[in-house]
């Protein structure tokens, strides 16, 4: 199975949570699967999904934030592991869909194929670092520490179309939904 099914699985657990989604096919697929005003779709700035999620989590401690990130994007912003861990917002759940590939650019291999990301986050200090298939996502979302979850999939993109709402609208409808 590929990323599309992983996003479907994740979204089955989402009610009122605010979702920040990684650039490229992940956002396109999320848009097709379950477009909602409480989704923030990244159109640029690869690597920053977890950073946007962190800023949001610290600003809105009463809301639960779920970040849908990717292994290639995580590798581009590894410092975020330190910053999220150190700030430890209990309302932040950071999910890496790890397909071992730069999916949106033609499925080139990433170094994540060689790295155990769950152990990496544990090594940084995350108390909650899990494989998706071992947990109940809703329980983890409601836990008392920031959480890091890796959902391993095969590479591959669906035929989800390009998002046809403009960035300002994505931002404005997201903010009015909070």
């Amino acid at each position: 199975m590929a990323r599309y099914k992983a996003i479907q699985d994740i979204m089955e657990n989402i009610d009122e949570e605010l979702v920040v989604c990684n650039i490229g096919f992940p956002s396109r697929e999320l848009y097709e699967i379950n477009d909602r005003s409480r989704n923030f779709y990244m159109i640029g700035s690869m690597g920053l999904a977890s950073s946007i999620g962190l800023g949001l989590a610290l600003s809105k401690p009463g809301d639960d934030i779920v970040v849908i990130d990717g292994d290639g994007s995580l590798l581009m912003n590894m410092g975020s592991l330190a910053t999220v861990f150190a700030n430890n917002p209990s309302n932040l759940t950071w999910i890496i869909i790890d397909n071992g590939a730069y999916g949106s650019t033609g499925n080139q291999d990433t170094y994540a194929q060689l790295i155990d990301l769950v152990e990496t986050a544990k090594g940084v200090g995350f108390k909650n670092s899990f494989h998706y298939l071992d947990i109940d996502l809703k329980e983890v979302i409601n836990s008392e520490d920031a959480s890091f979850i890796v959902y391993e999939t095969e590479p591959g993109n669906s035929k989800a179309p390009i998002i046809d709402i403009d960035p300002i609208t994505i931002k404005e409808r997201f903010m009015s939904s909070i």
Binding site: V20, I43, I52, G55, S59, S80, I170
Partner: protein, 163 residues
């Protein structure tokens, strides 16, 4: 007016309530004061680009964010400032210790220091270079509103001789 007071008071009077930072020796007193201010969330970051993302998230969450950094951090943030901050019209105040300017003792600061204003010009971002604390206070105090109106970051460059 003291040079540190000018920056701190300017940020407060602009309504800034969320700050990310990568330190510079010239910003150290301000960063300490931000840490002690219960009205401001201060998040030190590992790299400036990550800070640009955090500021975007903070704005989505209703905060008025600023980044404090050396001008070297501008170089580390260019893509995010364009493909996140400008693309979505996120307001942002950028306070930069402008190294590599008159009085610089570290040779490594000079190339980026010389290019910094021209990089901002090429990015089509407005910036101020206040020479006195009074001017810095005024520029910073008005910077948030300006950034909101323009839908782009506003930078305040504080050269070595400013301090």
């Amino acid at each position: 007016m003291d040079s540190n007071d000018a920056v701190y008071d300017g940020l407060k009077d602009a309504g800034i309530d969320f700050v990310v930072s990568v330190p510079c020796v010239n910003l150290s007193e301000i960063l300490n004061r931000l840490d002690e201010d219960p009205e401001i969330i201060h998040v030190p970051v590992t790299r400036e680009e990550e800070g640009i993302g955090i500021c975007a998230g903070a704005y989505l969450g209703g905060k008025k964010p600023a980044i404090l950094m050396q001008n070297s951090g501008l170089g580390n943030s260019i893509n995010a400032l364009k493909s996140l901050t400008e693309l979505y019209e996120f307001p942002l105040v950028m306070i930069m210790s402008h190294r590599g300017t008159e009085g610089e003792s570290i040779v490594g600061q000079i190339p980026m220091g010389e290019s910094t204003p021209r990089i901002l010009e090429a990015m089509n971002f407005n910036f101020f270079k206040p020479q006195t604390p009074e001017a810095a206070y005024d520029d910073i105090r008005l910077s948030w509103e300006m950034s909101e109106e323009e839908g782009k970051p506003i930078s305040i460059l504080l050269e070595i001789k400013y301090w």
